[in-house]
Symmetry: C2
Amino acid sequence: MRRLNLDLAERSYPILIDGGLLSRAEEILPFLRTPRIALVSNTTVAPLYMDGLVKALEKVGVGVTPIILPDGEAYKTWESLNQIYDVLLATRCDRSTTIVALGGGVIGDLAGFAAATYQRGVPFIQIPTTLLSQVDSSVGGKTGINHPRGKNMVGAFWQPKLVLADTDTLKTLPDRELSAGMAEVIKYGLIRDLPFLDWLEANMDGLLARDGELLAHAIERSCINKAEVVAADELETAREGGRALLNLGHTFGHAIETGMGYGEWLHGEAVAAGTMMAVELSRRLGWLCVADVERVRTLLQRAGLPVKGADLGAARYLELMSHDKKVIAGSLRLVLLKSLGDAVTHADASREDIVAAIEACCRA
Amino acid sequence: MRRLNLDLAERSYPILIDGGLLSRAEEILPFLRTPRIALVSNTTVAPLYMDGLVKALEKVGVGVTPIILPDGEAYKTWESLNQIYDVLLATRCDRSTTIVALGGGVIGDLAGFAAATYQRGVPFIQIPTTLLSQVDSSVGGKTGINHPRGKNMVGAFWQPKLVLADTDTLKTLPDRELSAGMAEVIKYGLIRDLPFLDWLEANMDGLLARDGELLAHAIERSCINKAEVVAADELETAREGGRALLNLGHTFGHAIETGMGYGEWLHGEAVAAGTMMAVELSRRLGWLCVADVERVRTLLQRAGLPVKGADLGAARYLELMSHDKKVIAGSLRLVLLKSLGDAVTHADASREDIVAAIEACCRA
Ligand SMILES: NC(=O)c1ccc[n+]([C@@H]2O[C@H](COP(=O)([O-])OP(=O)(O)OC[C@H]3O[C@@H](n4cnc5c(N)ncnc54)[C@H](O)[C@@H]3O)[C@@H](O)[C@H]2O)c1
Ligand SMILES: NC(=O)c1ccc[n+]([C@@H]2O[C@H](COP(=O)([O-])OP(=O)(O)OC[C@H]3O[C@@H](n4cnc5c(N)ncnc54)[C@H](O)[C@@H]3O)[C@@H](O)[C@H]2O)c1
Ligand SMILES: [Zn+2]
Ligand SMILES: [Zn+2]
């Protein structure tokens, strides 16, 4: 088993990565303040994994209050949050009850925000069951819900006591979701870890075949990379680089997500196409060569990801991108690659180059 | 002007106490990250104080987005919170916008929780306009809303950047609200500050006549006392004493509030009657003498507060008190006085003594 100890300024917690973790209650028990948890999941994940986990926990004397929400980003709302509060109060959960999230990023964000705010904060444990949530939501402590006027507009930073990434759960994950998570995995290689990028090229087929050992390595490298970036820019105050580097492909990608209507493209799919735009623009700035661009394209394609952007027209892209909350005071600050494995933030790309990069990737 | 620097582990911030602070925008300006605030108030306080504050701020170039909520504890809800989020998003407030609360504890708790959760946290400034909120909400960082199933069940800890307690605002506060706040002021004297208790006895008439200098001193001593208690028990983990001491009279008082239906008794009024019960019980344990009890009774009465409990019957009191969230595992842990100015937590009072103390204070 891989055991990562995240050592952020505020609080340190372990991320355990292995197959079969869900049935190993002894890994969870030492992290509970009292033998009482509220287990938040959804109607897709609960039938697959809840029973095993509950049985294992009850065997060691942990009382479990299940809270099962409908599945989908559309339910990452105040109403779902309120459903959680309702059950917590009705079953008299108190400040020592641990809230456990069993599911993808939606369940993690919801349950995490409930933990951050129920009686002003209760302990939280995350059991992410999608690749995306294992490599992204596990690190950084972001929790929250959507508001009708915008995604993730309401939330809090709330660190878990423990993260369990059970690679076995990825066996039931739809292919498209696995690929979407892989876009973020590849991102870590591209922005700061060239050896990992090489490794991903060598092992993509095994990863997609859901080889547990390979997945565990990919998750571990991803979490370490994200943790290093987050730790170096704890308060998101870095003016250059910093946490913003985690947004490679995201400003272009958000334009696709918004332009097509949320839900049409998965986030990871939009990030993949957006990454191609960032890479193409980096080539136009003279930082990457054609072979680099093709290397990225090939890897994303092998991962089952789109490399062609949605055909919104460059003008619409620019309009949507300028609404992105990461845009600082008018200038389009983009994450680009100086070379493969070395990302920078850059605010000086010309409008012409940006348009050309977008168009190249929509035609392709 | 009095300037208190609160130095809690997490973060330090100043509390300014003076008359006329509302028009001194130069005290606020240095604490804004950008010259942009969202000003949350209610339909009672806004007509009295918003105009002056907004004019002062606009004069020094601060843009103000006003958010005016209906008045009352009944509006400390998700719906009001959502109204705040709506305006923040509609007017494109971002992470650097400061949320300012202008009002009593209800507005402070609501606006503070909005600040804690809007885009995962924005800066917060508190301008409390009731005595209760100046002496209680100013210290400790508690924010939150009510849930249909319980008061203050959803919330977060979120420290303000600055607190402005303008004693002039207390001139328009209804007498009953001023007295209710005074119950908490007297509490600080009783639990840990005998010289302050003496001072309150000497100056109660001037305080009720709203003498600015006297009020400023009372607010300052109260905030210092609360800050010292909070700092010594930052994480609310003390098994004896600690933050729990701030609940003198509160367990009995909550029984009155709940038993009579919220809103019938003001919180401070219930605390006053509850304080008499705690004091009477302390006498039965041999810790206070009859003269001590009469001293407390006289001071509370002079402050315009009730010293007779609601006539619910002792059995109903005990039932309601056992539901209080401060009750630990069955045993009724009460805050009692070893002597005036010296509170302790005590879990060993007999049922008979508790019943007798309640009955003595309901008859009285
Ligand atoms: N907190 C953070 O740091 C962070 C980081 C990235 C993304 N997010 C958030 O996460 C969400 C996206 O996460 P996601 O991609 O995991 O989406 P998701 O939670 O919607 O999961 C995708 C789908 O897979 C299903 N599923 C989950 N695990 C499964 C399994 N083991 N087997 C079969 N099906 C399974 C889900 O029920 C859902 O239908 C977004 O709301 C995003 O904002 C948060
Ligand atoms: N966060 C904390 O640490 C903390 C501490 C104590 C109480 N609280 C919360 O505070 C609330 C009670 O606070 P409160 O007693 O200030 O009640 P409140 O906010 O309801 O104010 C009482 C009344 O006075 C009015 N008012 C306020 N300022 C006025 C002024 N200057 N002139 C005229 N009228 C004025 C209000 O509009 C209201 O009608 C409760 O919700 C309680 O849970 C929070
Ligand atoms: Zn992403
Ligand atoms: Zn109180």
